[in-house]
């Protein structure tokens, strides 16, 4: 297995979990919007997490 092959395999695994995470996040946000629980605090908490 070459260095390039490892990079590709690991990159694909990373991408798969990123896409799964993005899908879950989308459903979470839609769910919160529907239930009316997506508040300013939630948004700021997400902002604090992303800032790190």
């Amino acid at each position: 297995m070459t260095y390039e092959a490892i990079t590709e395999v690991v990159g694909n695994i990373d991408l798969i979990f990123l896409l799964i995470g993005a899908a879950i996040l989308l459903i979470e946000i839609v769910g919160m919007l529907v239930k009316g629980t997506f508040k300013r605090r939630t948004l700021f908490e997400m902002g604090a997490s992303l800032s790190t």
Partner: protein, 224 residues
């Protein structure tokens, strides 16, 4: 920041491997699989020690400081948390794993954990026996007494079952730090543990107390 640390880590691993390691595990599918397994085992201890040593907890507490549990929590890290991760994987070099395999395995172990940070997914049947799942990881983020310092696993929950730190999710946890902390200010989030550590170190009366404040468990006091 994580990219910088991983790049630095790769360079460090490469230098160490070139200078000291004369044999290597081949870069094959099974070699990469073995690297992920070993990296997952190391991650368990890396994570557990980050909870049990105050100096490391100042960084890892950032990840636990959110009162929410959603996917975005997965990317919440202390600014220097990755330094510990780079150091703790160095023994893999002496086992013969190449720097590429070690970095790749670390990325796989971390990437797997992204989907664990959600309340959207319930229990997953027999998978709960072997794999770390959202249910197991919600327990890890809980600050209720029953959930504290449990479920340190990355990919395989078997490490927690083996080393006595496993806890089943019984009721929905209360998330966040044990102490009252509910700030959304990034600077406060990054450095929330440092002021108290600084005060403790200033008040320390001996070298022993300094060592315990830095390397002892979070919450240690001279009366313990």
């Amino acid at each position: 920041m994580e990219t910088v640390l991983l790049t630095t880590g790769y360079a460090l691993y490469y230098i160490i491997a070139e200078a000291t390691v004369s044999w290597s595990i081949p870069l094959t599918w099974w070699g990469l699989g073995a690297a992920v397994l070993v990296a997952d085992f190391i991650y368990y201890w890396e994570h557990r020690i980050a909870h049990e040593m105050r100096l490391l907890w100042t960084q890892h507490a950032v990840h636990h400081s959110s009162r929410d549990m959603n996917i975005v929590t997965a990317v919440r890290f202390g600014p220097l948390e990755g330094v510990w991760a780079v150091i703790v994987h160095i023994p893999m070099l002496f086992m013969g794993f190449s720097p590429e395999a070690i970095i790749g395995a670390q990325i796989v172990v971390l990437a797997y954990q992204t989907w664990l940070h959600t309340e959207l997914i319930g229990k997953l049947g027999p998978l709960e026996l072997v794999l770390n799942t959202p249910s197991h990881h919600r327990v890890h983020h809980g600050c209720d007494d029953i959930y504290l310092d449990k479920n340190y696993a990355g990919i395989l929950i078997i490490w927690d079952r083996m080393f006595g730190t496993f806890q089943e999710e019984i009721e929905t946890p209360r998330y966040g730090l044990k102490r009252e902390f509910d700030s959304q200010n990034p600077f406060t989030v990054w450095f929330s543990e440092l002021p108290e550590l600084y005060q403790n170190l200033r008040g320390a009366k001996s070298g022993y107390e300094i060592r315990m404040y830095l390397f002892g468990p979070p919450g240690w006091t001279p009366n313990d």
